[in-house]
Symmetry: C2
Subunit: 295 residues, 2 copies
């Protein structure tokens, strides 16, 4: 499929942050107009002044009701609220509705109860930046990055093809999977790592209360391992609370791995300990090699 | 104290890797000669050809017996072996002996049994690079980085001052503490993070055996959190096996923090969960701010 396959008359981006602004920039060449919807007047003004969108409104109905493509670029709970309570009655039949929330099962379930005729597909682009906000918008943010698409009860074959074309227009790599599978995968690679980072920082901070040398000596390794702990709490709260079961399962599996390492450590058998640690080292090296080969 | 305070007639660097080579480069202006000692002929040849040392030998006695400063830049177990079994009889009285091993209690205990007259101080510079080997040597590697100094039973007041002057000559920041305290601190900020990284990669690799999408979707967060898992196993085995008690204690404290987060997660109280996670976020942000303020 070529990206020439994606055309829209009017695209609405609901949520003018980094992700939404970057979507708007990347998709403008494919649409006659891009409309931003956001309750924040500063985000709206910045989006219009910078030419990221053609116009912006805080009125959801006005912003979406004549669009043929609507993208929900809001936090997970806001997306669920929009889908469950508000947006269904505003959309025309045959509108393509995609979200970009970080968990998919609850959102896709909610999409399944939208009025028949709405073409709804769950989405999760695996990209981001350290800086947030509409000012950091970047048309290349999605390029060459995975963009997961999850079917809903409102995903017709035509909806699926339009969503694939949209992802291709972004320059992203579409990966289709069901929402439960997606949520399990991101529990492993994203939500578990966040929790470990937060628990590590909490452990070091507790040490720091009796010996502040921990903060003076902490260096590159701790810097990497503590970065995720600083993520936005409201966003992470939404994510964890809409993926509780998968995250709890991964935590249990993680504890098993940790317990095996601890047993070998306490047993003071250095040979067995390093043999136990070897597969993790090799898996990481193989993944990085593959990742860098793709660039 | 000014770095003019550090002068040496002949400095021996035992171990010609990244750390030893960088020490040699940084200290050459302060010594009449710098001698490298390493069993590896390629490392010796590279060190001499690149002008990192004046000469190099694989004979420990030849390499150290006329030096007034000897630095052990080898893996932890190699340092312990050198100190316990070999180097004591080769050194002149009043030689300053420093090591740069990553754990300090076992090494400092071993140093305490060296012949009286040897001035022995434990050291641990908190620096490094992704690349290893003598070819990556960098005279600025130690600049503005913490360099822990730990007293031993063979640390006279004069030895302490010479060690402080050496650290200042490197451009590093001396931090003095006893070996037990050092080992507890690095268990928290370095060894626990390594184990968490390895256990995380092991968990994700186990998931990957049933669903390879984990590897295709893994992105920046997992990249940071998995980096330490790729560290050299022989080095990490030495470190963990010489710091078992502190690491086991920190693992137990970490599990408590993890269990609290897990309890709030499973309880599905998003408000309480984010409040529990808030102090870790704030501690990380405060530390990074302080770290970047120092630059």
């Amino acid at each position: 499929m070529s990206s020439g396959g994606f055309r829209a008359r009017q695209i609405s981006i609901v949520g003018l942050g980094l992700m939404g602004g970057s979507l708007a920039l990347a998709l403008r060449p494919y649409a006659e107009a891009v409309i931003g919807v956001d309750p924040n007047p500063f985000a709206r003004a910045a989006a219009v002044e910078r030419g990221i969108v053609d116009s912006a409104t805080d009125n959801l109905r006005d912003g979406v009701h004549v669009s043929d493509v609507v993208i929900l670029a809001a936090p997970v709970r806001a997306i669920i609220d929009l889908v469950e309570k508000r947006i269904g009655s505003y959309l025309r039949s045959n509108t393509l509705l995609i979200d970009i929330g970080s968990t998919k099962a609850d959102i896709c379930t909610a999409m399944g109860s939208l009025p028949i005729g709405i073409q709804a597909v769950g989405g999760h682009p695996m990209t981001g930046k350290e800086t947030s906000g509409i000012e950091a918008s970047d048309a290349t943010l999605y390029q060459n990055r995975p963009f997961v698409l999850c079917p809903t009860r409102r995903t017709t074959p035509a909806a699926r093809l339009r969503a694939l074309a949209l992802v291709e227009a972004l320059g992203a790599v579409a990966i289709e999977m069901d929402a439960q599978r997606h949520d399990r995968v991101v529990a492993a690679i994203s939500h578990l790592p966040y929790i470990l980072s937060a628990a590590l920082v909490a452990t070091v901070a507790a040490e720091g209360r009796s010996d502040d040398a921990v903060w003076r000596l902490a260096a590159g390794g701790f810097r990497d391992m503590s970065r995720l702990a600083a993520q936005d709490l409201s966003m992470m709260g939404d994510i964890l609370s809409t993926n509780t079961q998968a995250v709890a399962t991964l935590l249990a599996l993680f504890r098993m791995q940790l317990a095996m390492i601890e047993a070998m450590l306490i047993d003071r058998d250095q040979q067995k300990l390093t043999e136990l640690l070897r597969p993790a080292r090799e898996a990481r090296l193989a993944w990085i090699k593959q990742l860098e080969g793709k660039r």
